[in-house]
Symmetry: D2
Subunit: 293 residues, 4 copies
C-alpha cells in the first residue's frame, strides 16, 4: 500500500522488548483521541523477543499537531523498556534525498524520472558525481549537480569525501543514495550516515561481493542474476538488506548481456528499497531488516 | 509465517464495519488476560469501510479453554456493528480435508505427499474419484478412496453428486478440494460447501475460463501461463481468488509442453492456497479475498 | 544475447514452408563464402508446417556488401516455396524509432534514458504527443517533440491522426511505439504501420482488454497484475503478443498501488519487446509471435 | 519443448572447436538421407571458440537404425578437430535413474509421482536410502528400495558407499540423483559417476555452501531463498549448475518457514534439471553448462 498524495498521515515506527500488551497500549492511545489507523504492521521476533510495529494514522483524525503527538506518545513509549526506539513522521512533509553517482546513468535516469513523475516520495535535493558526465540530464530535471573529482590514488581521496559530506549534509537528507557510485565509502561516512546511506549492489548478495559481480556470475555459471539494495555499513556489501530481486539468464548470455539485463533489476530494486525507506517501512534489526511493505 | 507443530495457537479471524478503536478493543481484550499475540494482520478496506483482522494468540498464554475464550470474545464482538463475522479456532485440533479427483494424478500425488510429510496442516480424510485410477496411490498413503462413477450424460449426474455429497459430509471437512476434479459442481453443492470448496483452475483467471485453457492460451500466443486457486461458486471459474502464479513459456512450447509446465504451477498454487485456507488466513470479501499470508 | 556495439552483423530472418533440408541449404550458402554464424535460432511449427529462422552472421566474415548478400540469398530463397518471407539487415545501420505519447511519463522517461545510455538499439527520431506536457524532458535528451492536439470528439480526430502519420512517416521508422499513447489508432494507421506499430497495454492480456485495466483487476481480485507488449492491429488489444510479465500484489493494494507497481512492469516489458523487435528477433506468425530472444 | 511420448527421435549432442561451416556440415549430413530436424539448438562460446549443438531428428525420417546413424556420423565428426565429443541417443529407449535418499521425503514423493504420471522421461530403477523411512512409499510406486545403513563415523563409511555403488551400478543408470541424500559423496564416486550424478542443494549457489543453508540465509537476512540443481564434483556444492530458482520470503519467515517454502523450489528445480539431463539438453562446459531447454 502507498500513501495517496493528498492523504496525509502520521507514521509511527517502533522497536522495543516484546511482552504482552504493547499493541493494546499503542492502539488504545490512538483510539483515545479518535485516531484512525489506516495501515498497521506488527512483527515479534521470537529469537530475541523484540517487537516491531509501524502504524499509519490518518492525520485528519488526530486533533493536534505532530509535535504534541510526539510528546504524548513519549509518555507511552517510556513504559516499553530499555532499548526502545521510535519515530513519528508526517507524510505531509516531503522527504529529501541526495544521490551520489559516477558514470553509469541508468539508476540516475530512473530515479530522476520517478521523482519528476511523482512516483518517489521525496525530492531529489542534489546529485553529486565524481565525474561530470551526468550533469546535463540532472539539470534538465531541475536538480542541482555537483562535480567532485576523485584522485586516482585511493589514499588521497580524503578531501574529496570531505567535500561530498559537506555537500550532502547541507540538505540534511533522509536518504543518501549510492546510485552506482562505485566508490567505497570511508568508515567515518558509513558511521555518519548510518541508517540513511543506501547502496545498490549488482549481485544477489551474499554471492559476488565486491568488484565485477557479473564477471564472477559468468565464471560460476549461475542461471539467475540479481541485485541487492542495502544499508551501507563499514563492512563492504554486508549491510542489512532492504530488497533483492533476480532475473533469468542462460548460457548464451555474455557478461555484457548480464550488464544489460541486470540494469532492469538494479533500477527496480533500488527504487523499491528507497521508497520503503523513505516511507518509514524499514526497521533495522541487527544484520536483518523488518520491512512493512 | 507458519505455526510450529508444537506451538499451539488460538486463531481469531474477524470482519466488521470499520471505525476507530477496533484494534485497541481486541488487543486490550487479549492483553487483559495476559495473552501473547504471536502473529497479527490487519486490513481496512477504504472502499466500503470494512475492517479485517487475524490474530494468532499463543495458547499457553491463555488461562482458559477455547470455549470460554469464544464466550468472552462474543461479548467484545457484540459491539462491532451489523454484519460482523468472526471465528476462533485452535491449531491444536487437526483440520480435515476431503479431495475430489478424476484421472489427473499430479495434484493428488502432491497433496498426499505433503500430508504424509507433515507439510499440510490437515489430515486428508478421504479421496473421492469419478474414476478408479487413483485408488492405489491414495490407499498407499493410508487414505480411504471412494469410487463414484459418473454417467456420461450430465443430466443424469444428480445421484452421483448426491453420493459425493454424502461421502464428503461424513467427514464434516474444513476443505473440500477439487484437485483437478474436472466436473462442474451443481449449484446446490456450491451453496452447501460455500467457503469450503476450493478449486484449482489451470489458467491465470480471468483469462481462459472453462474448458481446455492451455489450448486457449496457445491460440492466443501468451508468453506466460498460470494457475488459479479459488473458492467455488455457482458461476464457473468466477469465485474469489485465493492464489495465482505463472510460469514463462515460449513459441516453441506446444500445448503438451504447457500442460507439463502448468502442472508445476498448479501443484504449488493449490498447496499454497489450501494451506492458507486451512490456517484461517483467507477472509472472503465480496468477490475478493483478504489473505494474511 | 545482444550484439556488441562494435560487433557488426548481418541478420537474416526467414519464414517459409517447412521441409527437410532448409537449414542445410541456408547454412551451406553461408559456409560457402566462409561466413561465421554468431547466433542461430530455428523453429518448426508442427501445426501448420512452417519454418522460421534467424541467423546472425559476423559481418567481418562476409566478403561482400549487404546488397550483394541479399542478391545472392534471393537465389537460395527462391527455392523455398510459396509464402516465403525473408529480410536481411545490417546491425551497423542504426535503427529508427518514433514514440507516440500522451501525459503519462514513465515509459517515455525510461526509453529516453535507455537511448541516451546506449541500451536501446535505435535512435529515437521524434516524440509526438497529443498533450505538450512531455516536451521538456524529450528536448532535454536532444530529441525533437511535436505537439499534435487531439479534439475531444473522437469523430473529429481524423486530421490529427493524419498529421501524426505525416510526422511519423518523415522518419520512415522501424518502430512506431505507442508509449502509453492512450488513443486507439484508426484502422488505416494499423494497416499502414502493420508489423511496426508496438503498444504497451497495462494488463496481462487477454485479461482486462480496453480501458482502466487496473480497475478491472482490482474488481476481480487477482493476485498478480501484468503488462503486455504487442503489435497493434485493427482489433483492440488483440494483436500478436511480443512480451508479457507480471508482478505480485495483495489485498491491501488499491488501484493507485497497482498503477504504481504496474509502471515497473510496463517499462521493462515495453523496453524488452521493443529491443527484440528492433534486433529482428520477432517473427509474426498469424496471431502468435516467434521470438528468438 | 518436450518430446511427445509416441514421437521417437534420435538426439545428437555435440561439442567441438568452433569454425565456420560446422552447422552446414551436420545439417547437410542429415538432409542427405532426408532427415527431418524437429528441434535444433546452437551455441558458439566466443571466449574459448567452442561450438555446441543439440539436434533432434524425427526417427521416422531416418532410413536406418541408430547404430548405423552413429557409424555414419562418426565419419562427419572425425573432421571436427581435437576435443570433439558427441553422443546420439534414441528417445524410444527409456532412460534409467537411481535415487539416493535419506529421510527427507519431499523430493522423493515428487519424483515418484512424476514417474508414475509419465512426467519424467525415465524409469526409476531403484531407490537407495541410508535410513529405511522411505521404503514404504517407494514400494507403493512399484519401485525397489534398498536400505544401506551408514555408520555415524564418516571415516567408517567406505563399505556403505561401496555397497551403494554396487547397487547403483547394477542398473547402469543415466542419472544418479541425490534427492536430499545429505551425504557427501567420496571423491571416487564423484569421479565414477561424473556427468551423471545430480544433486539438489537447498540454496541459491554460490551463496550458502555446505550445511544448514536456510540457517545461513536467515542470519544474513536475504529477501529471496533458492535451490540449485548441479552435477556433483569432488569440490562440495561447486559442480556445474544445471538449474536454479528462487522464492520470496520476508522478515516474518523463520527458518522453519524457509524450509517449507524452499521445498517447493527444490522439488521443481530438481525435476526440471533432471528432465533436461535425461533428454540430453545439458552439455557441460568447464564449470558452466549449456542447456538447450
Amino acid at each position: 500500500m502507498t500513501s495517496a498524495p493528498n492523504d496525509r498521515r502520521f507514521v509511527l515506527t517502533l522497536g522495543c522488548p516484546d511482552r504482552p500488551g504493547i499493541i493494546a497500549r499503542i492502539t488504545s492511545f490512538i483510539a483515545e483521541f479518535g485516531g484512525s489507523i489506516v495501515e498497521a504492521g506488527y512483527y515479534s521476533d521470537p529469537d530475541n523477543a523484540w517487537f516491531f510495529t509501524r502504524q499509519a494514522i490518518a492525520a485528519g483524525t488526530v486533533p493536534f499537531e505532530l509535535a504534541e503527538l510526539r510528546d504524548r506518545f513519549a509518555g507511552v513509549a517510556a513504559d516499553f523498556g530499555p532499548g526502545t526506539e521510535w519515530q513519528l513522521h508526517d507524510t505531509g512533509e516531503r522527504r529529501r534525498a541526495v544521490l551520489l553517482v559516477s558514470r553509469d546513468a541508468h539508476c540516475l535516469h530512473d530515479l530522476l524520472g520517478r521523482a519528476t513523475s511523482g512516483e518517489l516520495p521525496a525530492t531529489i535535493e542534489a546529485v553529486i558525481g565524481n565525474h561530470p558526465d551526468l550533469a546535463g540530464i540532472t539539470e534538465a530535471h531541475g536538480v542541482r549537480f555537483h562535480h567532485v573529482p576523485f584522485p586516482k590514488d585511493p589514499a588521497e581521496r580524503g578531501p574529496a569525501f570531505a567535500r561530498v559530506r559537506e555537500l550532502v549534509d547541507e540538505h540534511d537528507p533522509h536518504a543518501v543514495v549510492l546510485a552506482r557510485f562505485m566508490q567505497v565509502l570511508p568508515a567515518h561516512l558509513c558511521q555518519h550516515w548510518a541508517g540513511r546511506a543506501i547502496n545498490i549492489h549488482h549481485s544477489f548478495l551474499p554471492s559476488f561481493v565486491g568488484a565485477r559481480p557479473y564477471h564472477q556470475a559468468f565464471a560460476r555459471g549461475v542461471k539467475l542474476i540479481g541485485a541487492t539494495c542495502h544499508y551501507v555499513t563499514a563492512e563492504l556489501d554486508a549491510g542489512p538488506i532492504i530488497e533483492q530481486d533476480v532475473t533469468r539468464i542462460d548460457h548464451a548470455d555474455e557478461v555484457r548481456d548480464m550488464v544489460r539485463q541486470g540494469r532492469d533489476i538494479e533500477r527496480v530494486v533500488l527504487a523499491r528499497g528507497l521508497r520503503w525507506h523513505l516511507e518509514g517501512r524499514v526497521l533495522v534489526h541487527g544484520r536483518r531488516t523488518v520491512v512493512f511493505s
